[in-house]
C-alpha cells in the first residue's frame, strides 16, 4: 500500500488527490496524510499546485455537481485526519458520478458525507441565526462564532439578499471578516477588533424584536426542550432575543 504526504493546506490536499488519481492505478488502495516532518516519517511527499487543485474541483463539478458540492462543504469543516477518506470519496465520485452519495455502505463515502452534512447544516442555520446590528455610520455588523469555516458561502448568501446595504460579517473565532459595499464582496482577517458604536435607533429596534419574540409564543404550549434542540444554546450568545438568559 502506497502512502503519500502533503503540506496540510487545502490546495495541497486537492492537488495531491489530483496527482494520485492521475498516477495511481488503484487510488482506493492508497493512503494520504499531512506531513509532520518527524524523523522516521514514511511516505512520498506530493508538491502543492494550486492550478491542479482548481482543475480537479472544476472537473468534479462538471462530472458530478452534487459530489463537488459535498466536497466543498467538507472543506468548510477543516477536518484533519480524513484525507484518505476524501481521496477514496473523490475517486468513487469520478467513477460513479452523483450516484456516489447513495453509496453510504462504503465507509469513506459515509464519513465524508456526514462531515459535509454537518457543515452544510450549520451554514443553513447561520443564514437564519445571524444578527446584524446597525452602526453609527449606517453600516451593519454581524458577529458569529460558528463551528465551521462558513464565512465565504454565508457572505455570498447575504450579498444576494441585502444588496443595498453596507455590511460586515465577523467570525470571532477565526478573526475573519467579510465586507459588502457597493456591489463588491471582500474578505480579510482582523488582528484587533474593537466593537464600533451602534446607531441611535438600534436598541429601539432590538427592543421591538425582543417583545415580538416573547409574545409570539403560545403560553399554553411552552416547550423549552424543543426550542433548544432546534436552536442550540451555543448560538445564543449573539442572538438579540436571547440576551440576558
Amino acid at each position: 500500500m502506497n502512502c503519500y504526504l502533503y503540506d496540510g493546506t487545502a490546495d495541497g490536499l486537492l492537488s495531491s488527490i489530483a496527482w494520485i488519481l492521475e498516477e495511481e492505478p488503484d487510488p482506493e488502495q492508497v493512503t494520504l496524510r499531512e506531513r509532520m516532518d518527524t524523523l522516521f516519517e514514511e511516505g512520498f511527499t506530493i508538491g502543492t499546485d494550486a492550478t491542479l487543485a482548481e482543475s480537479l474541483f472544476f472537473r468534479l463539478k462538471q462530472q458530478a455537481p452534487d459530489a463537488a458540492h459535498t466536497l466543498y462543504s467538507f472543506m468548510l469543516a477543516e477536518k484533519e485526519g480524513m484525507e484518505t477518506s476524501l481521496l477514496h470519496y473523490v475517486s468513487l465520485a469520478f467513477k460513479h458520478g452523483d450516484k456516489v452519495k447513495g453509496y453510504l455502505t462504503h465507509p469513506a463515502v459515509r464519513d465524508i458525507v456526514n462531515v459535509a452534512k454537518k457543515a452544510g447544516r450549520e451554514l443553513h442555520r447561520m443564514k437564519g441565526l445571524l444578527r446584524f446590528e446597525k452602526l453609527q455610520d449606517g453600516a451593519y455588523l454581524a458577529k458569529m462564532a460558528p463551528d465551521y469555516n462558513i464565512i465565504h458561502p454565508l457572505a455570498y448568501h447575504f450579498s444576494r439578499r441585502l444588496r443595498a446595504q453596507h455590511w460586515f460579517l465577523y467570525d470571532v473565532k477565526r478573526r475573519m471578516a467579510a465586507r459588502w459595499n457597493n456591489g463588491t464582496l471582500q474578505f480579510g482577517t482582523i488582528e484587533q477588533f474593537t466593537t464600533p458604536a451602534l446607531s441611535e435607533d438600534e436598541k429601539k429596534v432590538q427592543a421591538l424584536w425582543q417583545v415580538f419574540f416573547k409574545t409570539i409564543a403560545i403560553p399554553d404550549r411552552k416547550n423549552p426542550r424543543l426550542q433548544k434542540s432546534n436552536m442550540p444554546m451555543k448560538y445564543w450568545k449573539y442572538l438579540v432575543e436571547k440576551q440576558g438568559e
Partner: protein, 436 residues
C-alpha cells in the same frame, strides 16, 4: 362635575399608542395562526432593493413554544366586527384594541429584515368595518413594500373571506403565499361558532386562487416576464377540538383540499381555550396529541401515497392515540408484511413503519451498489427500532417471523420510549351532550 374623557382624546390615545405596545397586542393576537413556512418561492432580490427568497425556506429563530419563527407574524388590526366564539379577537371579548398604520408595518418589516431577524412578513387581520375595507388596507401594505420599498423578501397574506375577487387577485400578485382560513371542519360548526362567516365566502376565493396560480404557471412557461401569482401556493388552517367532527371527516376534508384545490398545506391548530363560551367544549388543555396525529396522517396523504380511506374508516373514525397512523395501518394489514429491503420498490418501503422518505430513498440508492446487509442498513442511517417487525433483509428477518399482530402491538408499545412523552399529554375532555 362628572368628567368623562372625550371620544376625540380616546382616539388620540389609540393613534399615539407607540409601536412597541401595538406590536405586543398584534403579535400576541396573531400567534394562533400556525403557518410559518417561508419555503416554496425563489426570487432574486431586486437590484438596489432589499431581500430575496430561498426555495428551502429559512427559520430565523425558535420561540419559547419551540415553533420556528421565520416571518414577522402580525395582525394589521385586532379590532373585529365579527364575534366568532373561539377567537381571542371576537368583538365581545374585552381587551385592548390596536391597529397598525401601513407605515408602521412597513418600517417594522424592513427594520427586522435588514437585521436578518426575519424572512419576511405574515400579514393577517381582524375584520375592521368590512371585509373589503380590511383587505384593501392589507393589500396596500404589500403593494407599498413591493413597489415603493423594492422589498423582495417573503410575504404571506391572509385573505379575508367575503372580500372582492379583485382584491384577492391583487394580493396574489404581491404575496408569495396566500391563505384563506377554513377555520372549522364543517359548515354546521362554522354556522354555530362563527355565524358571520360563510362556507362559500371561504371556498370561493380558494378556488379563485387555485385557478390564478395555474394560469400564472402556464403563462410563465411561455414567458418569464408573465406576472407570478402566489408562487409559494396557498394554504389553510383549521381549528381542532373546538367542534365535534371526527378525524376521518377532517382527513377527508384535507384530502379534498389537496386534490381539488391544489393546496400546498393544511395546518391544524389544537384549540386553545382563550375565552369561555357555552358553545365551546371545556378542555383541560389543548388537544396536542390529536393535533400531532393529524399532522402525521396529513404527511401520509402528501408524501407517502396513502388515502384518507386507508388511514381511517366510518367504523374507526379516530386516529389511534398510542400508535402513529402508519404503524396503526401496518398492524391492521399483516398480509402486506414482511417487506424485503433489497427488493421492495420505493412505494412499498414507504409503507413500513419507521421508514420515512429519507430512509426509503437511502435504501433505494444504496442497493444500486450492493445488496444491503442488516448491518449496512443501520450504517446508512435507517432506524430499525420499529421497522424490524415488518422487514426482512436478504431474506432474514430481524425478529421471529409470524408474530401475531397483537404481540407486535404490545412489544411496540413497550419499546417506543421516544413516543412516551406524547402519551402523557392530557387528552381532550369530551362532554357528552354538548353537541346534541
Amino acid at each position: 362635575m362628572l368628567h368623562l374623557p372625550s371620544l376625540s382624546s380616546f382616539l388620540h390615545y389609540i393613534s399615539t399608542m407607540d409601536t412597541l405596545a401595538k406590536l405586543q397586542i398584534l403579535s400576541g393576537a396573531a400567534r394562533y395562526d400556525a403557518s410559518c413556512a417561508s419555503s416554496g418561492s425563489k426570487r432574486d432580490g431586486p437590484y438596489g432593493g432589499t431581500g430575496n427568497t430561498s426555495s428551502s425556506g429559512i427559520c430565523h429563530s425558535w420561540a419559547d413554544d419551540g415553533r420556528c419563527i421565520s416571518l414577522l407574524k402580525i395582525l394589521l388590526s385586532n379590532d373585529c366586527i365579527y364575534d366568532c366564539a373561539y377567537c381571542v379577537n371576537r368583538s365581545t371579548n374585552p381587551g385592548e384594541r390596536a391597529s397598525f398604520t401601513a407605515r408602521e408595518v412597513i418600517d417594522l418589516t424592513l427594520d427586522f429584515y435588514r437585521r436578518n431577524y426575519i424572512e419576511g412578513l405574515f400579514l393577517s387581520s381582524a375584520v375592521m368595518q368590512s371585509p373589503d375595507y380590511t383587505m384593501e388596507c392589507m393589500v396596500r401594505v404589500a403593494e407599498a413594500l413591493r413597489t415603493e420599498e423594492q422589498f423582495g423578501g417573503y410575504i404571506h397574506m391572509k385573505i379575508i373571506p367575503g372580500c372582492s375577487s379583485e382584491l384577492v387577485r391583487k394580493a396574489g400578485l404581491y404575496a408569495d403565499r396566500v391563505s384563506v382560513n377554513i377555520e372549522l371542519p364543517s359548515q354546521a360548526s362554522l354556522q354555530r361558532l362563527a355565524p358571520q362567516k360563510h362556507k362559500h365566502a371561504i371556498l370561493e376565493p380558494m378556488a379563485l386562487i387555485g385557478r390564478e396560480i395555474t394560469t400564472s404557471l402556464v403563462e410563465r412557461k411561455a414567458s418569464h416576464r408573465a406576472p407570478r401569482f402566489a408562487p409559494a401556493g396557498q394554504s389553510t388552517q383549521m381549528i381542532i377540538g373546538a367542534s365535534p367532527e371526527n378525524d376521518f371527516q377532517i382527513l377527508r376534508l384535507s384530502q379534498g383540499l389537496y386534490k381539488k384545490m391544489n393546496l400546498k398545506r393544511v395546518y391544524y391548530s389544537a384549540y386553545v381555550p382563550v375565552i369561555e363560551d357555552n358553545r365551546l367544549p371545556v378542555l383541560a388543555a389543548p388537544p396536542l396529541l390529536r393535533e400531532h396525529r393529524l399532522y402525521q396522517a396529513d404527511w401520509l396523504l402528501r408524501f407517502y401515497g396513502f388515502s384518507a380511506e386507508e388511514i381511517l374508516s366510518d367504523d374507526a373514525p379516530h386516529l389511534d392515540e398510542s400508535f402513529d397512523p402508519k404503524t396503526a395501518w401496518a398492524l391492521r394489514h399483516p398480509e402486506f408484511f414482511p417487506v424485503e429491503i433489497n427488493r421492495a420498490d420505493y412505494a412499498t418501503l414507504l409503507r413500513v413503519p419507521g421508514i420515512g422518505v429519507l430512509s426509503a430513498k437511502r435504501i433505494v440508492a444504496a442497493r444500486r451498489f450492493s445488496s444491503i446487509t442488516p448491518d449496512g442498513l443501520k450504517k446508512i442511517g435507517v432506524v430499525i427500532k420499529r421497522a424490524k417487525y415488518f422487514i426482512t433483509c436478504r431474506g432474514r428477518s430481524f425478529e421471529k417471523s409470524d408474530q401475531p399482530p397483537a404481540l407486535i402491538r404490545q412489544r411496540l408499545l413497550l419499546g417506543e420510549s421516544s413516543e412516551a412523552p406524547m402519551s402523557i399529554l392530557p387528552k381532550q375532555l369530551v362532554l357528552p351532550g354538548l353537541f346534541a
